[in-house]
């Protein structure tokens, strides 16, 4: 038979454990907590060039790589400058998420991975995407 103190102790242990349980189930929330002018500019720039990026992707000139960036797949100077600017803006956004959410030194690679998975999900049929293995495939 359990001693009364033992039952209370077990109850308290369960209670302290349960307090952490919802945190384990819910996805963590990472946001751009402070919309600085630099981040706002990066987002506006991306919106402004979005259609052109889509055009180059549908022509097979650009593809979404496995690092959350766009890569050149064919030599095209106009697309190259567009891709460089796009990647600068993406990096600014990724770094802001890392900094503002305290994700630490390994956070940037995780953010890049998450974005690349979403960009691959959103890629249209026929667009080129780079797998984690490094191989390029058409979606």
């Amino acid at each position: 038979m359990f001693h009364r103190k033992g039952i209370i102790l077990i109850f308290l242990l369960l209670l302290s454990g349960l307090s952490h349980f919802p945190q384990a189930l819910a996805a963590a929330n990472y946001d751009i907590k402070q919309m600085t002018p630099a981040i706002q500019q990066a987002l506006s720039n991306r919106q402004a060039r979005y259609m052109k990026i889509q055009d180059w992707k549908s022509q097979g000139v650009l593809g979404e790589n496995s690092q959350g960036l766009v890569s050149m797949l064919k030599n095209q100077p106009e697309a190259a400058s567009l891709a460089a600017a796009e990647n600068r803006d993406r990096d600014a956004i990724y770094q802001a998420i890392v900094d503002q959410n305290g994700l630490g030194s390994g956070g940037l690679s995780k953010v890049r991975l998450a974005f690349s998975e979403v960009q691959h999900d959103k890629a249209r049929p026929g667009d080129s995407i780079q797998l984690a293995s490094g191989a390029w495939v058409q979606k």
């Binding site: 952490h20 919106q47 998420i97």
Partner: protein, 68 residues
């Protein structure tokens, strides 16, 4: 009676420990304790953030040559 009080204090410390309370270390300031924090990043949460941002970019996209 005294033993009950001691047990109660022990129990309280145990509960605080398991509940994740902050523990303040006191030591020599010339020999600081280095704690390598292991930041756990939830990839699901990051993917939600990435989805929101990519949706915002796509939805706010401006048409090229719009209006002339």
């Amino acid at each position: 009676m005294k033993q009950d009080a001691v047990n109660a204090i022990r129990l309280m410390f145990l509960v605080f420990f398991l509940a994740g309370c902050t523990v303040k270390a006191v030591g020599d300031p010339n020999r600081p304790i280095t704690i390598n924090a292991n930041v756990v990043v939830d990839i699901r949460g990051l993917k939600n953030t990435a989805t929101n941002i990519e949706d915002m970019v796509a939805q706010g996209a401006t048409q090229p040559n719009q209006g002339g």
